[in-house]
C-alpha cells in the first residue's frame, strides 16, 4: 500500500517487475488534495466520528448504570433484550432503518450516521452497554452507599463517582467506537448521495470508476485514512493501561 502510493501511475501499470518506486514521488498526494474534495471527506468523517463517540459515551454509560446499579421492575427482561440485540446483525434491520430515516427526511445528511450512536443503537451499541455494565458490576457497592449517605442523588453518584472509576471501560469504548464509525462504509453508502457529504470510506471509492482504477491515488487516500486510526489506537492503548493501574491501586 505504501509503496504503491509513492509510485507514479506509469510505473504501476508498466514496470510490473519493480517493487520499489523509482523515483519516489508525492505527486499522488498533491493530486488527491487538488483534484478531489478530500478535505471535505476528512471534515465529514471527523464530524461524524467525534459526535458519534460523544453520543455513544453518554448513552452507553447511562444505560450501563441503569442495568448494573439501579433496581427496577423488569430490568433483567430488558437486559435480555439488549443481549439478543447484540446477536442480531445490523444489516438485517438495514431496510426498516432506512425507511425510518426517510420518513424523518434525514437522507443525504450526516444525521443517519450519528443518531444511532446517540441512542446506543449503532452496530456495536449493545456490546458497549454490556461492557460498561460488567465493569460497573465489578465496582464495589460500598462506594455508592458511602456517597448516598453523604447526600448524593442518583445522578451525582453516576457523574461524580462512577464515571471517574469507569475510565478503563470508557477508554475501550472510545477506541472501539472510533474504529466503528471511522470505517463505517455501508450506512455512508446508503444514506449519502451528494459528493459534498461523503465521508472518507466512500471518498476512497471516488477514484474507482467503471473504466479506470487509479490505484496510486486509492493507496494514497487509504494511507491518509489509516493514519488517524493508528494514532487513536496507540494513544488509547496507553490510556487503557493507565486506567487499569489507577483502579487497581485504589483497590
Amino acid at each position: 500500500m505504501i509503496v504503491t502510493a509513492f509510485k507514479s501511475s506509469y510505473q504501476t501499470y508498466n514496470e510490473l517487475d519493480k517493487f520499489w518506486p523509482d523515483p519516489w514521488t508525492i505527486q499522488n498526494f498533491k493530486d488527491i488534495f487538488l483534484t478531489t474534495p478530500m478535505l471535505s471527506f476528512i471534515k465529514n468523517s471527523v464530524i461524524v466520528t467525534s459526535t458519534s463517540i460523544i453520543g455513544t459515551l453518554l448513552s452507553t454509560t447511562l444505560a450501563g448504570y441503569a442495568f448494573g446499579r439501579l433496581k427496577w421492575k423488569g430490568r433483567d427482561a430488558v437486559f435480555m433484550v439488549v443481549l439478543i440485540a447484540m446477536m442480531i446483525p445490523s444489516q438485517a434491520i438495514m431496510i426498516p432503518q432506512y425507511m425510518v430515516f426517510q420518513k424523518a427526511h434525514f437522507i443525504n445528511t450526516l444525521f443517519p450516521l450519528i443518531v444511532p450512536s446517540w441512542l446506543a443503537a449503532s452496530t456495536k451499541g449493545a456490546f458497549y452497554i454490556f461492557t460498561i455494565r460488567q465493569f460497573i458490576m465489578s465496582i464495589p457497592h460500598d462506594i455508592d452507599e458511602a456517597a448516598k449517605i453523604e447526600g448524593c442523588g442518583y445522578f451525582k453518584i453516576y457523574s461524580k463517582i462512577l464515571i471517574p472509576l469507569l475510565t478503563p471501560a470508557i477508554g475501550s469504548v472510545i477506541v472501539f467506537s472510533f474504529i466503528e464509525n471511522w470505517n463505517n462504509f455501508l450506512s455512508a453508502l446508503i444514506y449519502l448521495n451528494d459528493e459534498a457529504k461523503f465521508t472518507l470510506p466512500i471518498g476512497i471509492q471516488y477514484f474507482q470508476t467503471q473504466i479506470f482504477v487509479d490505484w496510486n491515488k486509492i493507496m494514497g487516500a487509504s494511507i491518509i485514512s489509516v493514519i488517524p486510526a493508528i494514532i487513536v489506537l496507540f494513544v488509547g492503548q496507553k490510556y487503557l493501561i493507565k486506567g487499569v493501574n489507577l483502579s487497581a491501586s485504589k483497590g
Binding site: P89, M99, L186
Partner: protein, 94 residues
Amino acid sequence: MFKKVTVPLLSPIILLNLVTAVIDSFRVFVNSYAITEGGPLNESMFLVLYIYKKAFTSIRMGYASAVATIFLIIVLVLTVIELKISKKKVYYAE
C-alpha cells in the same frame, strides 16, 4: 494444564467470541462490494450484498426485506445451535 485448566476457565469468553465471530462472518460486505460488486456470475455474491443490491440499486424493498428476514433466521438458528451445544461444554464458576 492448558487443556484441563486454562481452556475450561476461558470457555465463557470463547463462547462469546464464537457467537460474535460467526455473526460477523455472515456480514461480509465491503470486500466483495469494493472489488467485484458480486463478481462474475454472482460467484462472489454475499447475502448482505444481495440485500443491498435488491434494495438500493433495483429498488425492490419488499423482496430485499424478505431476504433480510431469511438472513436473520439463518443467523438466529446458528446462534441457538451454538448455545445448545455449548451448554455441556462451557464451565461457569458459580
